[in-house]
């Protein structure tokens, strides 16, 4: 019997080994085979080192566009898709320089209250309507009349828009605003006829922009396919089609890039980069990120004994000195992140470098002692329940334990957290919030105002640290209405210096935007933060 038992054990061991081998073979990352030429039954391209087997570009993205009417939604995923069909008067290039697009030039009045744009002539919307000054007026009117549109917040400061001539338009502001030009890059022009006759429903099914691509087909939650606009005013696309394919699973997105089913994938999670970085048929584009990560420190947080530790700047500074941001970038983001040196990414204009809070436990402990919190205190940290976010929050917990702060990590679904964090000052339960922020239009004001200005306590904004500093507010407000570049730079630098010193947050890091693309992709331009310009996109085939 013992012999029979031994035999059975050996058999089981053999079966288990075989199963493990199959699993490990499956787990294998980047491989040589993926760069060999292959073709599957879908007729979709197989992988090749240099050439694409077809002329249909596929961009695999994590989430679907919310809406194809560019005035309804303007989140990153929607913009990625709508930017291929709709254009703005001005646009950022890959160096974050403002460039003319539908406007050939522009001029600001001396008082900074009005801007006159000379429009490009001979441009037509997809529905054949001409693009002119009246079209700009119609787009503005749409935003004025319907406050529920995202467009409304972009044109909020435009008090009047007048068509000076067919191709000249003047926009008047309520007061000078240094973010005006940035906001102009978010106002996508839609055919006035389509606005009137089709509305949002129609625009979800048929595009009516001036962009290089027109909507061909869309399956909600599946894909959006666009084809070149034959009447495009600029250089026409050489592609047969461009498809934004929704692939929510990280591993599946990577697999699609490896097999060649996708030509570009975004984002590539840091932990998955190693799967494709050795694949010769793939290029990993590592961009400066705009996503700034921080932990808000609610200054009203009260301990059971009535003390408010986060009111004390020494405690807040100690928390930053106790945090090893270098290790955070290495551990949580596999090195695809930068240590914080100000309140937002260095890619954003008016960034001003500050002295980093490098890890200094001794200093952190002594600051805690000076503040009377040598023994630390307990505190809750809310965080989105995604793997990456929770890893980051656990890292914060470990670091703060070094100065006896006992962090209780509370993972929660993002929409619930958004609701909790929009509660007003006297109702909020959020003591610390692990969060990130990225500005939609690359403006310094957008990087700070909504999350640090006194007027932006929830629900008006997301200043969940309930940080209030009159000097900081004044610097931000002054910069906003100033037209002098030097003054703007100085004011923003001052604001950054003040908040950096006062530590309303724990400054964590700024993660890079990582994109994977096939080596045969040409002409796609990337902006910091991961936005794509696909006007000249092509496939070497």
């Amino acid at each position: 019997m013992p012999q029979k038992g031994e035999k059975m054990k050996k058999k089981i061991a053999l079966i288990l080994t075989a199963m493990l081998t199959v699993s490990l073979a499956g787990c294998g990352g980047g491989n040589d085979k993926s760069s060999e030429s292959k073709k599957d039954d879908t007729g979709k391209k197989a992988v090749s080192n240099v050439k694409s087997p077809d002329n249909d570009m596929v961009i695999a993205v994590q989430t679907d566009a919310t809406h194809l009417d560019p005035h309804v939604s303007s989140n990153g995923n929607s913009n990625l898709v709508t930017n291929s069909m709709y254009e703005t008067l001005l646009a950022f290039d890959e160096n974050l320089e403002i460039q003319p697009l539908l406007a050939e030039s522009w001029e600001m009045s001396e008082d900074g209250l009005s801007y006159t744009f000379k429009l490009r002539e001979g441009v037509k919307f997809h529905d054949g309507e001409p693009f002119n000054a009246e079209a700009v007026v119609a787009n503005w009117q749409r935003g004025k009349e319907d406050e529920s549109l995202r467009l409304a917040s972009s044109i909020k400061s435009w008090v009047n828009v007048t068509a000076d001539s067919e191709y000249e338009v003047t926009i008047t502001l309520d007061e000078p605003n240094n973010t005006f030009i940035n906001k102009v890059t978010q106002v996508r022009m839609v055919s006035p006829k389509a606005i009137k006759e089709k509305g949002s429903d129609g625009l979800a099914k048929e595009s009516a922009g001036t962009g290089p691509f027109k909507l061909a087909d869309r399956v909600d939650g599946g894909y959006t396919k666009v084809v070149p606009n034959e009447d495009y005013w600029g250089e026409k696309s050489t592609l047969d089609s461009l498809t934004f394919q929704v692939v929510p699973e990280d591993g599946a997105r990577i697999a699609m890039l490896q097999t060649g089913e996708a030509d570009i994938i975004y984002p590539v999670p840091p932990i998955q980069v190693e799967k494709v970085e050795n694949d010769k048929s793939v290029e990993v584009v590592n961009l400066n990120g705009l996503t700034y990560r921080y932990v808000t420190l609610n200054q009203n947080y009260k301990l059971d004994d009535g003390r408010q530790p986060l009111k004390d700047v020494k405690v807040r500074q100690a928390m930053n000195y106790a945090f090893d941001s270098k290790a955070y970038c290495e551990v949580v983001f596999q090195g695809y992140a930068k240590e914080p040196t100000s309140l937002f990414s260095e890619a954003v204009p008016y960034y001003s470098e500050q002295t980093p809070y490098s890890l200094d436990l001794e200093k952190a402990k002594s600051l805690m002692k000076e503040a009377g919190y040598e023994d630390g205190f307990p505190i809750d940290l809310w965080v989105d329940n995604t793997t990456l976010e929770m890893q980051g929050a656990e890292f914060v917990k470990q670091q703060l334990a070094e100065i006896n702060i006992e962090v209780n990590v509370l993972p929660m679904e993002s929409t619930t957290i958004a609701d909790m964090t929009s509660a007003p000052e006297n109702e909020t339960e959020v003591e610390m919030w692990y969060v990130n922020w990225s500005p939609g239009s690359y403006d310094a004001d957008g990087c700070m105002r909504s999350i640090l200005h006194t007027e932006k306590f929830p629900p008006a904004g997301y200043n969940t640290a309930f940080y209030s500093n009159a000097e900081f507010d004044a610097a931000l407000d002054k910069a906003l209405v100033t037209t002098d570049e030097k003054e703007i730079t100085e004011s923003y630098a001052k604001a950054q210096e003040i908040a950096w010193e006062e530590c309303p947050w724990m400054f964590l890091g700024c993660d890079n935007a990582i994109i994977g693309q096939k080596a045969y992709v040409t002409g796609v331009k990337y902006l910091p933060g991961g936005s794509l310009i696909v006007t000249n996109a092509g496939l070497n085939h």
Binding site: I15, A25, G26, C27, G28, K33, S34, E36, K38, D40, D41, T42, G43, K44, A46, V47, T66, H67, V72, S73, S74, N75, D146, E147, S148, L149, R150, A152, S153, K156, S200, D201, A204, V219, D220, G221, G222, Q245, V246, P248, E249, A252, A255, M256, Q258, T259, E261, E413, S414, T415, T416, A418, D419, M420, S422, G440, S450, A460, G461, Y462
Partner: protein
């Protein structure tokens, strides 16, 4: 039987009403504001308020419920808050993909599962039985998510035989079908084995054997047919689960089906879509259970519907 059928269908009406109230209350009880999600975190408060007003989210819950039910009785499930598309249109679009997936899964899995279970029962205690049950336990233990990703790695990335996602060609169905079906196969293998073993112990089987009937006939005419009753109940539940719970397969293979629509809608707090989907899922279960009940009679004509 037709009277029974009509009676059962009529019974679903109050049931659906109760479900509609529960679903409505539950989804409005969970924290989260669809208007804020729609507007985006950096939106102005006025924009959020305008959205709330436009979609009637400021109305009292009872008013919102009555409006919803009014629409429902006229065949209008409302419009999605997220995409502004009619909910019915959205669900029908997604349902096609989910149904394709479910059919691809149930095409082979129940047959194979029952076959494995029956063979195991017949060969009880033998090496074949152990082998089959090991297969079943492996199928049960391996999460669909993992199986799907493994399938993609091996058959799409390494071998290049199959596409990694989508249902654009017949080859696109193979991996999702395998992922969907594996669990069902395993469950049915285990259930049909135990059900078959139980039936084999029944008096009528012993009688059949005593009467000298051939073993093959005893197994398949007497035992197998009767053991199917329990197996079909389980199969019905499994299919119901697949229709509403195919989200993992849909996510791994990038297929826009109902499961993903539900998850996305919950994250967005797209109330009309969540409501529509949950009502549909509940209705599906009712219908599948009804079909299962009717099948009992087909398998065993002695069963009466009174």
């Amino acid at each position: 039987m037709s009277r029974y059928f009509v009676k059962r269908i009529l019974q679903t009406i109050p049931l659906m009403l109760v479900i509609s109230i529960l679903v409505f209350l539950f989804i409005h009880m969970i924290p989260g504001d669809p208007a804020r999600t729609m507007a985006g975190l950096d939106a102005e408060q006025s924009e959020v308020e305008a959205i709330r007003e436009e979609y009637g989210l400021n109305d009292p819950l009872i008013v919102q419920y009555v409006n919803y039910m009014k629409g429902l009785f006229t065949g209008d499930l409302g419009r999605s808050l997220k995409s502004d598309t009619p909910v019915a249109e959205l669900i029908v679009d997604r349902m096609q993909n989910t149904l394709k997936l479910v059919f691809a899964g149930i095409l082979w899995a129940p047959v194979l599962g029952i076959f494995i279970g029956v063979i195991s029962a017949i060969k009880r205690g033998k090496a074949l039985d152990h082998g089959c049950m090991l297969l079943a336990i492996t199928g049960l233990s391996a999460p669909g998510f993992w199986l799907g990703l493994m399938g993609i790695q091996i058959f799409s990335v390494q071998l290049g035989w199959l596409p990694s996602g989508g249902l654009d060609s017949w080859t696109g169905y193979i991996l999702p079908s395998f992922t969907m079906g594996c669990g069902i196969m395993a469950v049915l293998a285990r259930y049909s084995r135990s059900s078959m073993l139980e039936t084999l112990r029944e008096d009528y089987v012993r009688t059949a054997r005593a009467k000298g009937q051939k073993e093959f006939l005893v197994m398949f005419v007497h035992a197998f047919r009767n053991s199917l009753i329990q197996v079909i109940t389980i199969l019905g539940l499994q299919i119901g689960g697949l229709l509403s719970g195919s989200v993992l397969t849909e996510t791994v293979f990038s297929i826009p089906g109902m499961g993903r629509l539900l998850v996305d809608s919950i994250a967005f707090r797209d109330y009309p879509v969540i409501q529509g989907l949950l009502m549909l899922f509940a209705f599906q279960y009712v219908i599948i259970n009804l079909i299962v009940d009717l099948l009992y009679g087909v398998i065993n004509p002695k069963i009466r519907y009174d």
